[in-house]
Point group: C2
């Protein structure tokens, strides 16, 4: 049995399915929404937005996932505490005949776009049983890829124009590395070192060499310089030499410069050096100075070793302060840096999970949508009920100023005053005058029994990310202590929510 088939799910989806089936509710039209409640909080710092990712693999999975012989046999095998089968044969026959997710319609935020808390990222409409059954796989994929794309976007913000290489596969979560690489490349990394994954995404893999190359040569009686020379002979136009196996400044650097000089004499252009340990900013300054002196001002300096957005920020700040003391132009140095980011990107260091949820918000009964609620001890967990639409509101500068949740049946217009209500605080609202704002519907239909568009090239997803991030207020983009982006409700949706809470509490 394929571990990642339709049974890559939690048991309770299937037990609830049997309850719906037995009660005749399994084909009631239901509406679920996926959203997350809070931006990732990395402890010392917090994200001001996320980058939505994971949708495309989910849609491909949905098209393939179905109950085949093996899946049904596995379910038949499960026993009740009474010793009898947990699942009845008529239910299993129904699942087999149902196949997979052919009854569902998904509307979703386009992958790669900037997303915000509480805003539905995907709405799933269709038979209650199928929609319920989708939960685990949907969250499994969207939570992780959105988390990693968000971290990568922050790394990209810190790195500015510099190239960011993802090389986290050795610390990535086993086969989750597939999603880690994809999401990193959507969120902000330029290239990945992962060979099969890059290939399948249509990008060339990227890389340098490891300490073991130098170690192997030295253990066999050669020198570090011999190892560099061998690498440069085999890859004369792609030589990036790792400096810190023995000693960055006193061994690696002079050896690399000697080999670079040989390359130059043969008409090749050395590409770069890499520093993987020590005081990276300080070493980068020293290395840049010596490379300049040796006539290699173009040679790149790749920095690596537990980098993330804060470490990159710190490195850049230190270079701006310290480089002039050594006669090195800091701006020119920053332009030749490349960041190799691994572990901390692929595990979203500091905030290793996104708590995205998938909640029933409405059920269709006699042709109309009945809103579903969950009343929780925490006001923040009270759902925004009912069948909704989502808009992004742009201000007069053209910047995104709020995401707006509205009821599906209400008309939200640009040519009338628009009141934005705080989602939980009844005292907070603001009203926009016509002409001062623009509305963009955010969700688009992406699946109706089958996916409606073929997978997009990664480049398209990156463009969406770049475009959306550029439309954020700089305060929201900030790495530390960002402005809170407004997520608001229309008057009508707010009123419905209030009414439902009252009704349930009463």
């Amino acid at each position: 049995m394929d571990p990642f088939g339709i049974l890559y799910t939690d048991l309770y989806q299937l037990t609830m399915g049997q309850v719906y089936f037995r009660m005749g509710l399994h084909e009631k039209e239901a509406l679920f929404e996926a959203f997350y409640r809070r931006n990732p909080d990395y402890g010392a710092h917090q994200a001001g937005y996320t980058v939505f990712a994971g949708l495309d693999p989910l849609l491909s999975w949905m098209e393939e996932a179905r109950f085949g012989e093996e899946e049904i046999a596995a379910l038949r095998n499960l026993k009740s505490r009474s010793g009898k089968p947990l699942f009845a044969e008529d239910y299993l026959r129904y699942l087999k005949a149902m196949g997979g997710f052919s009854g569902l319609t998904l509307r979703a935020l386009p992958e790669g776009r900037v997303a915000h808390p509480q805003v539905p990222l995907v709405s799933v409409e269709g038979p209650l049983l199928q929609a319920q059954l989708l939960e685990t796989a949907l969250l499994n994929r969207l939570n992780y890829e959105t988390l990693i794309a968000t971290k990568a976007s922050r790394v990209r913000e810190a790195a500015g124009e510099a190239v960011v290489l993802e090389f986290g596969l050795r610390r990535a979560p086993a086969k989750g590395g597939e999603s880690a690489t994809r999401a990193s490349l959507i969120g902000g990394a330029n290239r990945s070192s992962a060979v099969s994954l890059s290939h399948l995404l249509g990008l060339p893999a990227s890389g340098t060499h490891a300490h073991s190359l130098v170690q192997a040569f030295m253990a066999l009686g050669y020198s570090e310089e011999d190892a560099f020379r061998a690498f440069a002979e085999v890859f004369p136009d792609d030589a990036i030499l790792l400096l810190d196996t023995v000693d960055t400044l006193h061994s690696g650097l002079p050896h690399a410069i000697r080999v670079f000089e040989e390359l130059r004499r043969k008409g090749h252009r050395p590409v770069g050096v890499r520093i993987d340990s020590g005081d990276l900013a300080h070493l980068a300054i020293q290395v840049a100075r010596e490379l300049d002196r040796a006539g290699f001002p173009e040679v790149l300096i790749v920095l690596s070793g537990d980098l993330d957005e804060l470490v990159i920020w710190q490195i850049k700040s230190q270079i701006l302060e310290e480089a002039p003391r050594y006669g090195v132009d800091p701006d020119r140095l920053l332009k030749r840096l490349v960041y190799g980011v691994g572990t901390r990107m692929v595990v979203s260091w500091g905030a290793p999970a996104l708590g995205g949820v998938y909640k029933l918000v409405a059920v269709r009964e006699n042709g109309t949508w009945a809103p579903a609620m969950k009343v929780s001890n925490s006001l923040e967990k009270v759902l925004n009920p009912g069948h909704k639409r989502v808009y992004r509101v742009y201000d007069e500068r053209g910047l995104a100023t709020a995401d707006l949740l509205a009821l599906a049946e209400e008309e939200v217009r640009e040519d009338a005053p628009l009141t934005l209500r705080h989602p939980t605080d009844p005292t907070k609202r603001r009203t926009l005058r016509p002409g001062s704002f623009r509305l963009e519907p955010l969700l688009e239909e992406v699946y109706r029994g089958r996916r409606l568009f073929p997978p997009l090239p990664l480049e398209e997803l990156r463009k969406r990310r770049d475009r959306d991030v550029a439309l954020l207020d700089p305060g929201v983009r900030r790495l530390v202590n960002p402005h809170v982006y407004h997520v608001s409700l229309t008057e009508r949706l707010f009123a419905l929510k209030e009414e439902l809470v009252r009704r349930l509490e009463g």
Copy 2:
């Protein structure tokens, strides 16, 4: 192309391979070791040991992974910056003919056993190119599964005798969920909610129901009690009812008790309730009191919602303090608790990556092993060189007191005084007298061109974990501020290390 085939690796493994190939070094016998440097540090607390996991899937992968047509075509496609192919045809032919990892021999700590920092967990011996090429896949699998098994082991320690259910798939790292579930079950979880994964591991999946069941019924005009009743009718011997969709004490609990009474009248035994939000310890006490009063002292209370080892510890402490005030026997209450642990186990909350490394430690030249070193700015990163053996040292109580690294060629005996050297501090040592200790060789040969044993049942791995944890000093097992377990070198290994550092620095 299979994304998880032999090219589920970093590009630099293959570029270094071409350098070795061109220089005629690719079939030199090399020895790599995998180990990690520090136990997971969760910020507020730190692990005193790890549980080694991920080996079995790695060995299965090694047997399958090979360079086929698609892999060679993908590599042929990669270009140098000069525009020419990055990899030469003779090298690609060599890879194709080589196939996979048929030349390697692996010795490893048996999976499921307790492990410690700096101790080789796997040694890989064989042709330099093959051994180098294994790095990424090996670390990818071992790092993550060991990390999660360790977290699960801590959750198990906190939970004591109580059942722990893993239900983290919705927040697990995409397909990494496969490893998350497996490692959780090795490390300490009793069951998982993941259906396909449990099935493939030979365990029944476990689960309850979600809020959406109650929400769906209520949106369709039924009540919470109707939803509970429907669930109990379909699963009369497996009813675990979720209490907190509306209000745990004022709605969920009385409704559940009513449905339980009906079940009892029909001759069934209600199984449990689940509480997923709020002050879990306080609610558990109130719920236990009411269940007792209603004559259901055996009904389990499943707690869930961002649990980990510290939260479980806190819940138990609060119950011990608070339960007597409500006339509830805390010990009896603790015995009926079940912990549902999700997100924080499958992402190893607080320490989301294990920094395991794979280092070249020796190369065979003219029949003898030449030790390989990497000198780093940090003393902690200096490798323990050469071809080694690993022993676990047990004291007179039979408890594990240290792991000992020795040179492969030296004899380490139980019938002579044994000096344990600190791995980096030359002033620290202790000498054990004969008769006061026992030695256990830790690594066993598991792969020689192919795997030497079939995969073991999960139950065997769990037994190893239980046995090893029981042999730790209680101070090392402690959840917070654990004793440091000693990892030592023999006199001869320490002397070799000193000599190599001197030679390289000189």
